[in-house]
């Protein structure tokens, strides 16, 4: 059953993380219950494979249990910290299992992407949705469709520059420049609107 991910309250997350750092298993369960669906979506986007996404989630929460004390509120919101743990782990798995994934997307039905949970849209649509939701479509509109596509592939699916270049059939240097430019535009845009600290 697919669920719409939602974002839990940041203060609750910070409090639970503080308790998890002290070995509080009730806080750990509360943290898991509040964030796992949302974080599952992060992993699933990169891997598009339910079993692997769940494996990432499992690894990530083991890491959270051991490393909750490392969370530094001065460096960002707790959900950002959790997302990065999950996304980094998903990218690691994606790259280390590139060959297996490739097979899975081919003949192995058991490991194939979960078609019932597949979103109708792809990375470009996700990027557009995000940009519209935060109201920065005007400045991001300066990016070409190709630039947006490159940024979406690298961010949402955790592709390397090389993979994105192959997917877009463009030179590596061009793809790198597109991603860099897309990110720089986004940052400048958000800073200009006071949505992130300069």
């Amino acid at each position: 059953m697919a669920r719409s991910p939602h974002q839990p309250d940041s203060d609750d997350l910070a409090r639970w993380l503080a308790h998890v750092a002290l070995g509080d298993r009730r806080a750990f369960e509360a943290l898991y219950q509040a964030t796992s669906t949302y974080l599952m979506a992060v992993a699933w986007r990169v891997l598009q494979h339910r079993d692997l996404a769940e494996e990432v989630l499992q690894d990530a929460f083991v890491k959270v249990w051991h490393g909750a004390g490392m969370y530094d509120a001065r460096l960002g919101a707790p959900m950002t910290w959790l997302i990065n743990i999950v996304r980094n782990r998903a990218i690691d798995i994606r790259r280390s299992r590139a060959a297996a994934l490739s097979d899975a997307h081919g003949d192995d039905d058991a490991a194939a992407p979960d078609a019932t949970a597949s979103p109708a849209a792809g990375p470009e649509q996700w990027l557009d949705t995000a940009i519209h939701r935060v109201g920065v479509q005007q400045c991001m509109g300066q990016l070409t469709a190709s630039q947006r596509q490159a940024l979406a592939l690298v961010y949402y699916q955790g592709m390397s520059h090389t993979e994105a270049a192959q997917a877009l059939d463009t030179p590596l240097g061009t793809t790198k420049a597109w991603v860099r430019r897309g990110l720089d535009y986004l940052k400048a845009c958000l800073q200009g609107r006071g949505m992130v600290t300069p």
């Binding site: 308790h19 992060v42 083991v62 950002t80 995000a130 390397s160 991603v179 990110l183």
Partner: protein, 248 residues
Amino acid sequence: MKYVQPPERLDALARAYAIGTLSPRASRRFARVLASSPVAAQAVADWQQVLRVLEDGAPEAPAPRAQVWLDVQARLFGREQAALPLRARAGRGVRALAGWAGGLGAALGALLCAAVLLARPQWADLERSGGQAPPSYVGVLSDPQGHALLATTARRHGRLLTVRLLHPVPLPAGQVLSLWAWSDADPTPRLVGRSPNVQSADIALARPAEDLLGKMTHLGVAPADAGPESLTAPSAPFLAEGPCAKVW
């Protein structure tokens, strides 16, 4: 410091690290830099804050199956623990030990406490200056993993109770530590006082320690709001518990 200078280089590395396009080797190397360079850590955090915005476009995804949570617990705490509902595991540690073994448990806890304090008298300000240590109520409170988290000491007839943290306690801003005591005969926790989350602090007791702690066998510490309102019960699970021992 070749990673953090010039700033443009650091920004480029931080951007690539945050979005995940560094090679695995370069990523590991830069992660080591982050651990020792607040400037680099801040640069990455700034980019992560930017990328966080893109999460708002997240599509629907399958919810994780219930087995995932069981597997997380099994990896951390063992299969047997994972299968139990959390409520059934509540009250672990010294309280559970005391409840399990009745008076023997409490006596064992007090013995352990005394042994710890003999080994580390500085935890409870019990260093002898050639004579006997003053009669005191002492506690060494441990977290659910059994790690000593804080020590308390109060002179038997004194009105001050010293709380000494043995490890930092990460509490959200605006919260303090509340110290509670209870006995085997009456397990309802009674508030002893509130302490700021600092390495060492004195709690002013409403009555002499003998009156407040004379019949108590256990101490627990829980997070609490810093406000002046009185507390009738802990508002959060205990972070640490331990025996309340009479040392005289």
